[in-house]
């Protein structure tokens, strides 16, 4: 897990980034992606397992063999991160995902 230490470049608060993302990049938004972001924002700085996300966001209780969650999260990342920004949702190796609230 990457520490939110001084090495990080300061960035916008997630909420404002999300707002921007909503305005600029969600013009063709899918309800699921929005739901996913909403759920992650309610659980900032928590490690969210793939199974948890599937169950809570998609009400889907089985872990798929494909990287279903990762692909959806990738799409979300593309919408909330600008190329020059620190990733808002870092991948915590095999464990899951965290949406960081800025330190």
């Amino acid at each position: 897990m990457r520490l939110s230490s001084g090495r990080r470049t300061p960035c916008l608060m997630p909420s404002s980034r999300v707002r921007r993302a909503c305005a600029v990049r969600f013009h063709e938004r899918t309800p699921r992606e929005f739901h996913l972001l909403e759920y992650m924002m309610q659980h900032t700085d928590q490690l969210l397992r793939r199974a948890t996300l599937l169950a809570k966001v998609w009400s889907y209780r089985f872990v798929p063999a494909t990287d279903l969650v990762d692909v959806h999260l990738d799409r979300l990342r593309h919408k909330v991160d600008m190329p020059d920004e620190v990733p808002m949702i870092p991948d915590v190796r095999d464990a899951g995902f965290i949406l960081r609230a800025a330190s």
Binding site: L3, A51, D74, R93, A95
Partner: protein, 460 residues
């Protein structure tokens, strides 16, 4: 007879109490009695016919004679009758007897009718005797009435003979019946005892035992065949279960071992908190993988045995596959696979929406997993015969014919997919869900996998 046997059955051997024995003995006795009755009936019929023919013939012969020769003919006829069974009489038009050994015109005898039964009184020099006869009466041209009759007391004698024969034969027949019944029931008991020992051995755990068959079309053989078929199934299931145990242990051990090694190394080598946290993250991932296997297994068991029928409701299949399509569209795009969604049908079935979604999603998941980049996957809803078919077809390598049944088995992984990520549980879960709904899952062999869930439409 059964009651008699019952009262003795305390001392009698076991076979006496068997149904085979009782039925054989009983059926034999009934058959003998029926047969005797039949013999009597046929013989009596024959005798009557013969008597009637003789009476008719005689009456015709005498009637054809001239009136004065008739008297002689009647006398001749009566004199050649050592057994006193012939009766004859010629009566005047006023009813008085002209000649013969009949006391009078038998009461109720119809004139110029076919031979009939009647009561007649025979007279000779010193006594008169009442008897039942077969008689015929003919009116002659001169107004007289000719009566020819024959005693049929012989029929009674015939009945006595048959009865005597029956009394003589019945014990033998009954004895024979008992012996056959005994042999049959002892044989049956022997086979039952044989089966019992074998079944005991099977119950004790020796599932390779099979019941012997004699290759005949015997009910016992059929029973043995049925039982053997059942044993084949049970053996296969038990072996599968044992296999599942092994596979499960193996599949759980691999990620756990990796976690353990990772934790050990991390503990020894991690210098900073950051590094340690990274080690912990990887460990969580590994443990999650094991937990996923356990959760899925429990879920399959829950679906298979729990029967979530309570949550059944109307499910619109078109909406369902659209949702699955939305869910998997990004993955297909990422893998450069074209995903087509086609729903020609808009059927509503009775089911658990969440579970059905899971089943369809699993099939699509599988299809996307095994289809190489550049391929295509189609999720279609087609109208079938009184059913709606959710068809997932892909351009992947498909499954071999010998794997067709195995793919729905728990932990089964095709050799081709050995090195792909997956738990080999997906299709067993689909199979469990489909079974719970009473639907049908077919997976066609050959290149380009086609998996179908045929959903029975609710009867209106």
């Amino acid at each position: 007879m059964f009651a008699m046997l019952d009262s003795f059955s305390v001392q009698l051997p076991d076979f006496v109490r068997t149904t085979t024995f009782r039925w054989t003995a009983g059926a034999f006795a009934v058959c003998i009695v029926l047969f005797s009755a039949f013999v009597y009936w046929k013989a009596a019929d024959y005798m009557l016919a013969k008597t009637d023919a003789a009476v008719t013939e005689e009456s015709l012969a005498i009637a054809a004679d001239s009136p004065d020769r008739q008297l002689n003919a009647i006398d001749d006829r009566l004199s050649q009758d050592p057994r006193h069974i012939k009766l004859a009489g010629l009566f005047g038009s006023d009813g008085h007897r002209i000649v013969g050994n009949l006391a009078g015109l038998p009461h109720g005898l119809k004139i110029d009718a076919p031979v009939q039964s009647a009561a007649a009184i025979r007279i000779d020099q010193n006594h008169r005797e009442e008897m039942t006869v077969r008689a015929i009466a003919r009116s002659l041209p001169n107004g007289n009435v000719l009566v020819i009759a024959r005693n049929i007391d012989g029929l009674k004698k015939l009945a006595e003979v048959v009865a005597r024969a029956l009394i003589l034969a019945l014990p033998f027949a009954l004895g024979f019946g008992l012996v056959i019944g005994m042999v049959l029931s002892v044989r049956a008991q022997k086979r039952v005892a044989e089966l019992e020992t074998l079944v005991r051995r099977i119950v004790a755990g020796d599932l390779r035992q099979r019941l012997p068959t004699q290759g005949l079309d015997h009910p016992f053989d059929k029973l043995a065949e049925i039982a053997n078929g059942m044993l084949d199934e049970i053996e296969a299931v038990v072996q599968e279960m044992a296999g599942v145990g092994n596979e499960m242990a193996h599949d759980l051990r691999t990620p756990l071992t990796r976690v353990r090694v990772g934790l050990e190394r991390g503990r020894a080598n991690a210098k900073t908190l950051e590094e340690l946290q990274a080690v912990a993250d990887r460990a969580i991932g590994g443990v999650d993988q094991s937990l996923t296997i356990i959760t899925t297994l429990l879920r399959i068991a829950e679906i298979e045995y729990g029967g979530r029928l309570g949550g059944f409701d109307n499910v619109a299949l078109a909406d369902l596959i659209r949702e699955v399509g939305d869910l998997y569209e990004p993955i297909a795009e990422d893998k450069h696979i074209s995903l087509h969604i086609a729903s020609a049908d808009n059927a509503t079935v009775c089911g658990d929406r969440e579970l059905l979604l899971e089943a369809v999603a699993n099939l699509v998941d599988n299809a996307l997993k095994f289809t190489p980049a550049g391929g295509s996957v189609e999720l279609a809803l087609v109208h079938g015969d009184n059913e709606s078919i959710v068809r997932v077809s892909d351009s992947g390598p498909g499954i071999r014919e010998n794997e067709q049944k195995a793919v729905t088995r728990r932990f089964y992984r095709s050799d081709k997919s050995r090195n792909t990520f997956g738990f080999g549980l997906g299709l067993s879960l689909v199979s469990a869900i489909v079974k719970l709904h009473g639907f049908r899952l077919t997976i066609a062999a050959g290149p380009g996998c086609v998996a179908e869930i045929a959903c029975a439409l609710p009867s209106v």
